[in-house]
């Protein structure tokens, strides 16, 4: 048996294919296609796609293809696409990764489009600065958020414990937690989540001591004493039953669904303000937002308003200008702002903030009020974290677990954290 394709048929078939592909290219030539990639859940996707549709109706000849993944899958996908010279035109970017991507030449500098194409005049200056690396603008902030404590107010009330205020210290908060656990109104519920492995918490606590996680030149910005005291504070909470035991905390996969507040295992937990709407949606109880506690009554500046995420434009994009136009539309168009709400954080543009504030629902208002009411608790934006910060975060959690499960003393834990992070940073 043999398969035979006559030369004539082959040529005819090939010609047909060629003409078909020519049709394809001529259609392409007429419209600009932009690809957009972001991480997030379905509600965020719905909002984003609506904005893209709105943009397309106002800009005939531009089509936008959006694609989204969960946080964990997002970074492998983006790295693979960038390595394969197949990066999306518009990339949702995080404060943690913007330096890495910008320094490696994967992102297009945007300052030359300002202000004609990209108008960030009514943005908070510090937040614009947050998207800059080495003097070039690589990301436009899509909203501001801040780290926050989530409180299950119903559980606090049942236990007869008052809610913490902006003046509450960690020590007092620990006593509240122990009281809630002791009250035992709900089976398996403890006072507070074990935050010893949470990077935003540790950072906030360090900032109140006048330190930080990393310096601007990518070195470690805290010492053994800081880390040991931190682990020690949580060890005491654990002992007093103020926070959940280590094996319960280890169920937390660092997402909304497995947070101990969502699982009903603690009355207080730790999150970011823009996630409040999603937290409330997961809980039957009434939730509230408050700040991270103070170390002493007069310690301040632990919090900061953080660009929750950016839009960056790929350096590989064939239509950078069009992509910039889309980004500008995304952050400056009132209709888009209403569609987006505060799901990506509080809008950075003063005008858009007004538009959104007028239409917010109750949960949205909680997040807005929280971020704008931080007062002296908020300080300056820290420098963007260096490469290796992701590993450092895992290490903080790993050692917190070793202390939590009693395999390390808080003092040794502190020593080990500093040694390990120094090594990670040296390796880059």
């Amino acid at each position: 048996m043999s398969l035979r394709v006559s030369r004539r048929n082959f040529v005819a078939g090939g010609a047909t294919l060629l003409s078909l592909s020519a049709l394809g290219t001529s259609a392409l030539a007429q419209e600009t296609r932009l690809r957009l990639l972001w991480w997030g859940s379905q509600p965020r996707a719905d909002r984003t796609n609506k904005v893209s549709q709105l943009y397309q109706t106002k800009n005939a000849g531009t089509s936008i293809t959006g694609e989204f993944l969960g946080w964990g899958d997002y970074w492998p996908r983006l790295a693979t696409q960038v390595a394969g010279r197949n990066a999306p035109d518009i990339i949702q970017m995080d404060y943690r990764y913007i330096v890495q991507y910008a320094r490696r030449g994967a992102l297009a500098p945007l300052e030359s489009y300002m202000p004609a194409k990209l108008n960030l005049d009514d943005f908070d200056k510090a937040q614009v600065e947050g998207g800059s690396v080495d003097g070039h603008l690589y990301g436009v902030s899509l909203g501001a958020n801040s780290a926050a404590t989530v409180l299950n107010t119903t559980a606090f009330k049942e236990a007869g414990v008052d809610l913490p205020t902006q003046a509450t210290t960690w020590e007092e908060f620990g006593r509240m937690g122990a009281e809630i656990t002791k009250a035992g109104k709900r089976k398996g519920m403890f006072g507070i989540a074990d935050g010893s492995g949470g990077e935003p918490l540790f950072e906030n606590w360090l900032r109140q001591r006048g330190k930080g996680l990393y310096t601007a030149d990518g070195k470690i910005a805290f010492d053994v004493d800081d880390a040991s005291e931190w682990y020690d504070m949580w060890a005491k909470f654990r002992e007093a039953g103020a926070c959940v035991p280590a094996d319960v905390q280890a169920l937390d996969k660092n997402d909304i669904e497995t947070n101990t507040v969502s699982l009903g295992k603690s009355a207080a937990g730790f999150a970011h303000s823009n996630q409040f709407v999603a937290y409330q949606a997961m809980s039957k109880d009434k939730l509230a937002l408050t700040n991270y506690m103070r170390i002493k009554a007069d310690s301040k500046g632990g919090h900061y308003r953080k660009p929750s995420m950016f839009f960056s434009v790929s350096a590989q994009s064939k239509s950078v200008e069009q992509a910039v136009d889309y980004v500008n539309f995304f952050v400056k168009n009132p209709e888009a702002a209403v569609l987006l709400d505060v799901e990506r954080g509080i809008p950075e543009s003063a005008a858009m903030r007004e538009v959104v504030a007028a239409k917010l629902d109750e949960n949205g208002k909680v997040a807005l009020a929280y971020v704008s009411g931080l007062g002296d608790l908020a300080g300056k934006l820290p420098p963007p974290p260096p490469a290796g910060a992701g590993e450092g975060e895992l290490m903080l959690r790993n050692i917190a677990e070793q202390v939590g499960f009693g395999q390390l003393s808080p003092a040794d834990g502190g020593k080990q954290l500093v040694t390990e992070i120094t090594q990670i940073l040296a390796r880059g």
């Binding site: 964990g72 970074w75 960038v82 991507y101 094996d247 992701g390 959690r397 499960f405």
Partner: protein, 319 residues
């Protein structure tokens, strides 16, 4: 071919004559086999393009520093040296993976064999039972099952609810560093379907008259199993053991889902492949991850070679 035959031998050199003959033979073989190759083409493209090509590229990358954005930079054997001398996470991951392999493979095979023997008694509706028992293997690698496992073995999971009935207050098995690996071993044993099907087929190959003769001679059931079933089943056991060992070394999904990609608590579920994934896609060290991958290839190859070398002492082939 026919042209070469007509040319006088003296007119051309011996080499080119032989070359022409070889070329002719090649052409004849090609003509005969071309359709076959044509049909193989999809597989050949897949093998060279998607398996062999990337494997060779990863071998090259294992000698480089590659962050996926900038071009790879040649660093010689530095990655391998670091793995061998200065990487505590490598030894942690190796320890977890070996524990997993050593526990899960024997338990899974034993369990699969027991179920296969139970099903081999001429049950009515055997295909249905077979399908039901096979089901976990189809679902096993999936995200949903890993999530189910969290529900079973969490602090307020089903297992602890059962233990509470007899007055035991269990820990959160899946998130406790002392127990988490065993919950993953249990998950693997539960997916006994595919070795079971193969055992079942093997059991059916054993001639019934051997058992009849043995019972006439008064051999007990246990003795029959030990003297007839096991020896005649050794080729199937060998096959299953090799396949399951390789699979166990490559396990990834359960640990990834259950620990949220961290390998925690305290690296207790840091499977080798999970560590490799973290290095590649979490820390953008594609070169280092490639070196880790090649070390895994070598380890699996050594294990497999060892199995084959020892097999002649215990595997019984009929012919």
């Amino acid at each position: 071919m026919s042209n070469a035959m007509r040319t006088p031998a003296g007119a051309i050199s011996v080499e080119s004559y032989q070359g022409a003959v070889a070329e002719g033979r090649f052409r004849r073989l090609w003509n005969a086999n071309a359709p076959g190759y044509l049909f193989l083409l999809p597989w050949l493209i897949g093998f060279f393009g998607l398996t062999l090509g990337p494997a060779l590229i990863s071998l090259y990358l294992s000698f480089t520093d590659f962050d996926m954005i900038q071009s790879p930079r040649w660093v010689g054997a530095a990655n391998y040296v670091r793995i061998a001398t200065a990487d505590p996470k490598f030894s942690a991951a190796m320890h977890v993976t070996l524990t997993y392999v050593v526990l899960s493979v024997p338990f899974k095979l034993t369990f699969a064999l027991l179920v296969a023997m139970a099903l081999n008694r001429g049950l009515r509706g055997l295909p249905i039972y077979r399908a039901i028992f096979y089901l976990p293997s189809l679902l096993g690698g999936s995200v949903a099952i890993a999530v189910l496992w969290r529900q079973l073995f969490a602090s307020d999971g089903l297992i602890n609810a059962a233990l509470a009935q007899i007055g035991i207050e269990g820990p959160s098995w899946i998130s406790h560093p002392n127990y988490s690996i065993y919950t993953l071993v249990a998950l693997s044993v539960w997916q006994f379907g595919s070795p079971m099907i193969i055992f079942l087929a093997g059991l059916r190959q054993i001639p019934q008259d051997m058992y009849e003769a043995a019972s006439l001679d008064g051999a007990s059931k246990f003795r029959q199993f030990y003297k007839i079933t096991l020896p005649l089943l050794t080729p199937v056991i060998f096959f299953n053991a090799v396949v399951q060992t390789i699979d166990a070394f490559k396990a990834f999904t359960p640990a990834f889902i259950i620990s949220g990609g961290t390998g925690g608590p305290i690296n207790s579920t840091l499977f080798y492949t999970l560590y490799l994934y973290q290095e590649a896609f979490g820390n953008f060290r594609m070169g280092y991850a490639s070196a880790l991958a090649w070390i895994l290839v070598v380890i699996i190859a050594i294990f497999t070679a060892f199995s084959f070398l020892t097999s002649r002492y215990w595997v019984h082939y009929d012919d």
